[in-house]
Amino acid sequence: MSAPHTYTRPIAGWWRRNPFYRAYIVREMTCVAVIAYALELLVGLARLAQGPEAFETWLARLARPWAIVLNCVALLLIAFHAWTWFEVMPKTLPFINVGGRRVPDRAIVAAGAIAAVLASLLVLFAFLYR
């Protein structure tokens, strides 16, 4: 049998076609904020290695208003990015049974998100009352 004569439509612009795809792209794009913040910390580490003076200069630069605004924006984007990954966390796990009953997906999502919030608060308190 010969192969049928077919037409394949182009895929370009697929992510604009559906709200679900747009949400996926937003999820993926917010990782840029994670990279930017990681680089910022890396620069801080390099300054720390150069000595106290370099580190103080770096801290002073971060205390400028636009740096604070940028970091606040990054925090929001990173929080959203983290949430989207907790949302899909059940997809990465086999079914978990406790006492013969399957743990619902929303409990897995909530457990992950609550653990992240508690860990963040712990770090914050350790920083404030050091």
């Binding site: 049928p4 004569h5 077919t6 037409y7 394949t8 439509r9 895929i11 697929w14 992510w15 076609r17 559906n18 679900f20 795809y21 996926y24 993926e28 899909v88 059940p90 997809k91 990465t92 796990l93 086999p94 079914f95 049974n97 013969g100 399957r102």
Partner: protein, 253 residues
């Protein structure tokens, strides 16, 4: 008895005749319908009364056979369980399932999809085959629960139409085939996991997935292909390190 209310709906349908049309075009009709009519029945009305050349696949009319999958207003759905009344008054646009080659009108070429289903060894591979005299395999409800959801697939291919990774790379094994693979791996009667590991580990196996997750969203039977694929990324990682630490050990790859 009260006569059912009849209204008209605009149905726009992708048309493509191989060897005649250079590219697909759209054609629209005003179709009379009653509130109990599905999109499939709307298409059947067109074929019976307005244009006999409109081509589409269908069989059971009740979401079991998986034949009538199509893009309905851009979303992969079964035409038999989607109702025309939901699309009033704006009308409806039907196109063949995305990402597949179009054979004619709403009919897609599923050969690649079917070959992938076959490729995952979708049958029980027992460690020691039982003889007839030994009777059937036995399973607890818990053991059945581990794979039952994945066994509900009707091969309608909506998940492939939902998967942009498959759209961009047709070599990707894809959601339904990987869910089917997992259906057998998760079965307590099966011991073929090592044989299927090669398919999971491949570049175009589970690692072709970026967890868009739309496959599980569009599935008409409540199968969760995204879960089958993504929990096997963990299995694949474990398998990789097992072979890194114990190159001559048991297992696969």
């Amino acid at each position: 008895m009260v006569e059912p209310r009849t209204r008209n709906i605009r149905i726009e349908c992708l048309r493509y005749a191989p060897g005649v049309d250079a590219a697909p075009r759209m054609q629209a009709w005003d179709v009379p319908f009653t509130d109990d009519m599905s999109v499939l029945q709307g298409l059947q009305y067109i074929k019976d009364h307005l244009d006999g050349s409109v081509t589409f696949r269908w069989s059971c009319r009740m979401a079991v056979c998986g034949s009538c999958g199509m893009q309905i207003n851009g979303i992969p759905k079964l035409a038999c369980e989607t109702f025309l009344r939901e699309y009033m008054p704006a009308g409806i646009r039907v196109e063949p399932l995305a990402h597949f080659p179009i054979v004619r009108d709403l009919v897609i070429d599923q050969s690649d999809f079917l070959a992938k289903l076959e490729s995952v060894r979708p049958y029980l591979i027992p460690a020691v085959p039982r003889t007839l005299a030994e009777g059937p395999y036995r399973q607890t409800p818990g053991e059945m629960d581990a794979y039952y959801q994945y066994s509900q697939c009707i091969n309608c291919a909506l998940c492939y139409a939902a998967c942009p990774q498959y759209g961009m790379n047709a070599k990707f094994t894809g959601p339904a085939a990987l869910a089917l693979l997992h259906r057998y791996n998760a079965d307590s009667r099966d011991a073929g996991k090592a044989q299927r590991m090669e398919i999971i580990n491949a570049e175009d196996g589970v690692w072709g997935c970026t967890l868009v997750g739309y496959c599980s969203e569009v599935c008409p039977k409540g199968v969760d292909p995204a879960r089958a694929v993504n929990q096997n990324k963990i299995e694949s990682t474990k398998d990789y390190f097992r072979h890194l630490l114990m190159p001559r050990g048991s297992g696969s790859r």
